[in-house]
């Protein structure tokens, strides 16, 4: 990328973010409802904390006491809240109703606008999310978990989670080029990430065989991995492997997304909307 191009990309992104932060402000009520809906990990946390009242819960070499569950599910809360996606809806509507056409006429990849729309929303709700997150850790007596190194690594893994979530949702949304029910697939991503990713049960509490499979899937990479980082029990090897898995999934999914987009666009250009 040339310097001039880079400057152009930065300028466009700055303006896109300004625009979508402004849009997010317009939808304050919707954001508040979403944030309330995102309290499920906290409810699950309360159940696990209660279950661990008499002692740690162990399995397959892993052990979680009350504090561990509190930290883990507060991490789940932040991951879920920071990765709220509606790109399936945008793409389904854009492709089937032809709303994608005006975006295709601009000398800018349409995905920039779609990404910025999500990021604008997150930027606007981030202060509240962080406040709830810190308050949750404080009330459960686990605020000490937020060391500088932990927080930085957790933040990086959160960015990785966002990119994996975004690419999965985008790939599913792009299926609208071929099918009419792409939107109906969206809840599946949610179920998979909750059940298989550690949203309900930490992955290392699953039976060994299932755990070994799950840790290689993107759902654990985007949910369980940031949770493990915040717990601070992860060793350097597991940390590096986790980061490598995140990067791997981002690359694989981004490649998949690009290929689906190209094939879909070819179809869109062939049949129109």
């Amino acid at each position: 990328m040339t310097g001039k191009r880079l400057l152009y990309v930065i300028r466009v992104w700055r303006q896109l973010l300004v625009q979508y932060c402004t849009v997010a402000l317009t939808y304050r009520a919707q954001s508040a409802i979403w944030m309330l809906g995102g309290l499920m990990p906290i409810a699950i946390m309360l159940i696990w904390v209660e279950l661990a009242a008499k002692g740690p819960i162990s399995g397959n070499g892993a052990s979680y006491d009350r504090n561990d569950f509190a930290v883990y599910f507060m991490a789940m809360y932040l991951v879920r809240q920071a990765t709220v996606m509606w790109s399936v809806l945008i793409l389904d509507r854009g492709i089937r109703r032809g709303e994608l056409a005006p975006l295709l006429l601009r000398p800018m990849p349409p995905i920039w606008a779609h990404m910025a729309e999500h990021l604008g929303e997150i930027i606007m709700r981030l202060p509240i999310l962080i406040a709830v997150f810190v308050l949750g850790l404080f009330l459960t007596g686990t605020l000490g978990q937020l060391t500088l190194a932990n927080t930085m690594l957790f933040t990086l893994s959160l960015i990785g989670s966002w990119l994996i979530f975004f690419n999965i949702h985008y790939c599913v949304g792009l299926l609208a080029f071929w099918m009419e029910g792409a939107l109906s697939l969206e809840p599946l991503i949610w179920y998979f990430s909750v059940i298989l990713g550690g949203g309900a049960v930490p992955v290392d509490l699953f039976p060994a065989l299932i755990r070994d499979i799950l840790t290689w899937l993107p759902f654990a990479s985007m949910m369980d991995f940031p949770g493990q980082i915040l717990l601070g029990k992860i060793d350097d090897t597991a940390l590096l492997l986790g980061i490598a898995k995140q990067i791997g999934w981002i690359l694989v999914l981004a490649l998949l997304r690009r290929n689906i987009w190209r094939a879909g666009l070819k179809r869109f250009s062939a049949v129109g909307a």
Binding site: V12, R14, Q19, V23, G98, L105, P107, M108, S269, A270
Partner: protein, 341 residues
């Protein structure tokens, strides 16, 4: 004059899923999916020179929007060659996209929840318009379209006409050399239609932009385009001067009479075909070469307060053209004037 738009043998075929109606039809289509090939644009060729405004007319489903989408790169042709400003539109190169615009009356670019000016600011950055140029152009567009009072209002709160004017201004902010306007006045009231028409004419005049315009409002076409292309069933049925089209398609003119005293229909029919009789007002259809003679006889024989000789309304002309195509009733043309819309 060199052609800005050159189209040769353009064709577009769609594969359409064929399904019978009702639940049984849906079940059948699950087991046995049937497809039919529909030719939306068939062997279309034309050239448009720099600065020309061409009215692109046709009934619903004739292939107008499909053609415009192929010219703007949104659709890939099934066959033929297209060149717009020496670009192949389907490549959608950045330089091409920066030189054209496609305004679709029923699809919007403006961000719904923001003020219109926010969308302008975004396009300024996307199209890399320098700040001073942006201010000047926005000023010009605001002046030409009287946008100032609405620029800072949320788009969702604008009237349809205000929104359409903002859409037009947004689409022209990067000063495209080629404009594809698909029903730019759809749904607008008469005054707003006129404002948009005046603006398009002024833009063409000021920047020598090449414009292809589709509209169901014949007033748009009459006011803006000297040349019209009529597409029907995916094929060009006429391409040429609007006046020639009128002369070719309507061998008769309209004699509009204001009578001093009411006359029976039979009496008026002695002179020519009676198109309308409404108390003291009548309209006769007279062959072009007999107009002077018939008008003199009418003035001599009948108590006439006023007489006017007019061409037939343009929608009748186009309707007549479609009528000549088998299986295409004039009503399908869906052409309206302001009075009818």
């Amino acid at each position: 004059m060199s052609a800005v738009i050159a189209v040769r043998g353009l064709r577009k075929e769609y594969k359409v899923h064929h399904k019978e109606g009702g639940f049984l039809g849906s079940l059948k289509s699950l087991v046995n999916r049937r497809y039919a090939t529909v030719t939306a644009v068939d062997d279309v060729s034309f050239e448009i020179a720099e600065g020309e405004i061409v009215g692109f007319l046709g009934p619903n489903g004739a292939g107008k929007t499909t053609t415009l989408k192929m010219l703007s790169g949104l659709l890939h042709p099934s066959g033929g060659d297209v060149s717009v400003l020496n670009f192949e539109p389907k490549q959608r190169q950045s330089a091409f996209l920066r030189s054209i615009t496609l305004v679709m009356g029923q699809k919007q670019q403006l961000a719904w929840d923001l003020a219109a000016v926010d969308s302008f600011l975004l396009n300024r950055v996307i199209y890399e318009i320098p700040e001073d140029v942006y201010r000047r152009r926005l000023g010009e567009l605001s002046e030409m379209l009287s946008l100032q009072p609405v620029l800072n209002k949320p788009v969702r709160k604008l009237s349809l006409g205000e929104r359409m004017k903002c859409e037009l201004a947004l689409a022209l902010l990067h000063q495209p050399k080629v404009l594809f306007l698909d029903e730019p006045t759809i749904g607008l009231d008469v005054n707003m239609q006129r404002a948009v028409r005046d603006f398009i004419a002024a833009y063409n005049d000021r920047y020598r932009a090449t414009i292809m315009l589709t509209s169901h409002y014949m007033d748009d076409v009459e006011a803006l385009a000297r040349r019209v292309m009529v597409i029907d069933g995916g094929r060009i049925a006429f391409d040429g001067d609007l006046n020639r089209l009128i002369a070719e398609q309507t061998p008769k003119k309209v004699l509009r009479l204001k009578l001093a005293t009411a006359q029976p229909a039979e009496r008026l029919r002695q002179y020519a075909e009676l198109r309308r009789l409404d108390d003291l007002e009548a309209e006769l259809l007279v062959e072009r070469h007999r107009v002077p003679d018939t008008a003199s006889r009418l003035l001599a024989d009948l108590p006439i307060a006023d007489i006017a000789i007019e061409e037939q309304p343009i929608e009748d002309v186009i309707g007549a053209l479609f009528k000549n195509s088998p299986g295409k009733p004039a009503a399908a043309a869906g052409l309206t004037t302001n009075a009818a819309s």
